[in-house]
Symmetry: C2
Subunit: 565 residues, 2 copies
């Protein structure tokens, strides 16, 4: 392809709101362009990468026997209503109506639709197991799209759906997809690890995410350096600290004056005690309007995802003024003693004396002992912190940032039960279709490749997904022989099956080389008056500092050997 | 692929609301399934066909130098507002808002979006000409989805957009796309003709459609049997009939009593005159609310598309009661004499005496002479009828039904002017980007292939787009040798690069053969106890009545030779 008429121009500078290296390079190298917040167009260079990523995924899906289909983007409300997700997904989805008033969702994902087809197409155990998948746009009304393609409002997902007779068959499908994912990411040049994850608004119990560890990620991943324990913070646990016996002889709790001390930090300073000696009590309200108090040690953070899971709710927010009044609580001075609210006590709260809010303005209580002075349901809703002990092996855990590039869910009969999807089993009974789903976002994968494979000059594409195999650069020259020589080289490479971007523009060598480094095609081939004199072509790998002259007669064979992974 | 676990089952009978042969076969052969009116999922068999159709189109686009990109489905309102199509397309599009209130359209097409990118990416004449294209879902809120995939609410379109420096370059791009379309349709087995067409809500002046002539089509195509004149009825014209001189001595018009005679048919019977001796006057209202009267001979039909074009409006409907009052007209008795409305007189109205409505109940006028008794703007807004004379050669025209499988538009500076999209020309001036667009609907193409290539037993896929090259059918047998022999044959064919559907189901020979004919794969290979005895495989082409035995040792080579187009 000739670079002169390539649609999409490289940029010297990235827009100032591009917050990650990958976003800056994505824009500068004309991989993609925004249409609006969270909506991006693939330009030709980026589209070629996206297609190669898709093709890798397709091959790995086909290898495990998955069948490609295609479900519409516009999905009727009726199917979502069967599972209740029409309501629960409302805050994060795009809705539309036709002119007759019928309601639709732009598919957030496609579980309900696949299950609908499955219950009609699959009648007997003889038709199982089956996996279907498609590449299809998803719409997600992200409140804060960020970082280019890492968090967007529309993206193509490869979503696969497995349908099985029983748990054992589902388990085989789940791990077959797990391995297909691992192979797919490895082939596209991503170092992705699989971690245990929360199922969120998807339903079911078992899920894994594939995470690429990088500082630009917004997920927090707990990783054990000694064993294979890896979990998303939303799901991570820690080995409990050695259980201390409750001290028997603590005095009864007593009030202390704490004017204008509404934060743990202020209390630490004021009382000269460490954060772990305080209890913080959060008064919260779930999506259904129920109020709950959560009690944590002062040095622990609430993990909202864990709490949502405990409460079986889709969202948690701060309680209202009326909620405080009803609970007999005072903002800034909430405490668990004599609180009139359902109380959850985090597992990290120990059986010892704490300073806690007194539910009176400017007042705290000291020597508050859990179990003695208040009761509550014990739950695990705290963030794991670096240094906590691994729940599997006891070693000190690390906390890293990660980008979730894929996720897989084992639902079991969750969707079948809600949608009355059964098949005729071999023994003549009707049984629920066992279900799993498996997603990879194409755009996020592409940008994560850039985030983790670039240098200060530009992108460094892995060979398997590079937009082109080779970048032929014809340098400006008063020697009229350069353009026809470059033309001939390109033609010869292309007939040998090499994909070539051909820089035929009227630009200086400096501009051309800078663009070549920015775009990041693995092999650069320079044709100039100098190389013609040597009857050679200068070949340079993207990461190399300098090129080497390769005789013209050998260049095609050399490139063929180097080009493909 | 094993048919036992193929997702999607064949149906003995099509649903009763399937109105065309192609729709019935599409459903029976498990090519696609509806989710709701006008929303279809491709099942695996259909998806394979769709992908092959896409790949043919992609290759022909790439051959003319087009570059593949991908623009979102969810498109921000702001770009549509620049051209005014946010409003004009409202009745036929799906809209959505994000939770912050910003408006979006599910792309009806993508001209505005491409033009937006072009004005930012293309700065100089050196970057032109360029053609970009994508395969992407379109949303169209069709009031009456019909006939399976022929008219739907969501479909994947290949839409290409050409950008040129001037009219000459645009013209070259337009005809390059025209020829790429002709090649694409021929390769996928569609006998498509290019016809002149109306530009409708797309803007611009020049357009062609590719039409496949078949009775299931909803378009009416005027075809000259003697020359190359072909036009959509919405655009078609005819050579004027020989001009008759106005008779000089007609009496002044006079009232006649016509109680309860509000249709041409009633008047014909009542007065014993042919339809062409009457004038019918239609009182109409355009999308902007302006009222217009259209006068046609009683034997001619109004062509709404032509009228919309004349009125530069997006829709025309019947006038309201208030409009009648204001025009001093009476429903059923509207006539052009003394009518208080803007009057359009169709070109087929001759300068002679007619019977016309009197604008009084139960009354008509006779001897109404156009030009003498009323005046109006002369326009061509009538349907061409079979037997009318060809505007190019004068021969008698035919009117056929057609399915529009592709359309191409030459806009010139239409979009650039509205969107301020210019480039720096070689002479230093800024000039508008010349624009064209080119669409093919994948689903409609696939169904049109079925509509025009089937027999009473099922689909007959052209080789180039068949879901598989060969259908291996293992017949039931007490001979345990059949399944392993069929397995081996399938493995051997697949390693030779043949795509195989393998009927490994526990079904009777009758069911298997009926399904094979229904699904319509070009080659059927039967393995049975009988063929094993002969050390052979039975090979049957889809249209053949009987198969022939091919020695086992030759079958792979034979299939390889026959399989591909």
């Amino acid at each position: 392809m000739r670079q002169s008429t390539l649609f999409g121009r490289t940029l010297r500078e990235a827009p100032s709101d591009a917050t990650t290296p990958g976003t800056r390079l994505l824009l500068r190298a004309a991989i993609a362009r925004p249409l609006a917040a969270g909506l991006y167009t693939w330009l030709p260079l980026g589209f070629r990468v996206a297609r190669k990523v898709e093709q890798i995924i397709r091959e790995e899906q086909d290898r495990i026997g998955a069948q490609e289909i295609r479900i519409p983007v516009i999905t009727p409300a009726e199917y979502w209503k069967e599972t209740g997700r029409w309501d629960t997904l409302e805050p994060v989805t795009f809705r539309t109506r036709d002119h007759g008033g019928r309601e639709y969702m732009i598919g957030y994902t496609h579980e309900e639709l696949v299950m609908h087809h499955a219950r009609s197409e699959i009648q007997s155990y003889r038709q199982l197991p089956a996996i279907v998948y498609h590449f299809q746009e998803k719409g997600r009304d992200e409140e804060r799209p960020r970082a280019g393609l890492l968090r967007v409002r529309e993206f193509v997902m490869k979503d696969a759906y497995s349908i099985a007779r029983d748990f054992e068959e589902l388990d085989r499908q789940y791990w077959a997809e797990h391995d297909a994912y691992a192979r797919s990411f490895a082939r596209m040049g991503l170092d992705a690890i699989s971690v245990e994850s929360d199922t969120g608004n998807m339903g079911g119990d078992v899920a894994h995410e594939f995470q690429v560890l990088t500082d630009v990620g917004e997920d927090r991943i707990v990783v054990c350096p000694s064993c294979d324990y890896r979990a998303n913070m939303e799901k991570a646990t820690r080995a409990p600290a050695p259980a201390a016996a409750a001290p028997a002889d603590l005095p009864a709790y007593a009030s202390i004056d704490t004017p204008d001390a509404t934060t743990i930090e202020t209390l630490e300073r004021r009382l000269g005690l460490p954060a772990r000696d305080f209890l913080k009590t959060l008064l919260l309200r779930d999506a259904e309007g129920s109020v709950v108090a959560v009690v944590l040690p002062g040095d622990r953070e609430l993990n909202e995802a864990k709490l949502r899971k405990v409460l079986r709710t889709s969202a948690v927010k701060f309680a209202s003024e009326a909620d405080f009044t009803a609970a007999k609580a005072v903002p800034g001075y909430v405490g668990p003693v004599a609180l009139r609210a359902r109380t959850l006590v985090d597992a990290s709260v120990e059986p010892r004396g704490y300073v806690a809010g007194a539910n009176r303005k400017d007042t705290h209580l000291r020597d508050v002992v859990p179990g003695r002075d208040f009761r509550g349901e014990r739950v695990d809703v705290h963030d794991v912190a670096a240094g906590d002990r691994c729940p599997k092996c006891g070693a000190g855990l690390a906390v890293r940032r990660g980008v979730e590039v894929g996720n897989i869910f084992k639902f079991g009969p969750y969707y079948a039960d809600k949608m009355d999807a059964t098949y005729l089993a071999e023994d003549g009974t009707r049984r629920p279709l066992m279900f799993g789903s498996y997603g990879i976002g194409i755009g996020r994968a592409v940008q994560t490749i850039i985030e983790t494979s670039h240098d200060e000059r530009g992108i460094v594409w892995p060979k398997a997904v590079a937009p082109f195999d080779a970048h032929v650069v014809a340098l400006p020259s008063r020697d009229g022989a350069v353009p026809p020589a470059a033309d001939a080289l390109v033609a010869e490479l292309e007939s040998a099956g090499i994909e070539v971007l051909y820089d035929d523009r009227e630009e200086t060598a400096g501009v051309k080389f800078a663009d070549a480094d920015l775009i990041g095609i693995p092999l650069r081939l320079t044709v100039s008056a100098r190389t013609l004199k040597e009857d050679a072509v200068e070949l340079k790998g993207r990461r190399a500092e300098n090129g080497t002259l390769v005789p013209r007669g050998e260049i095609v064979a050399t490139v063929k050997e180097l080009a493909r992974p």
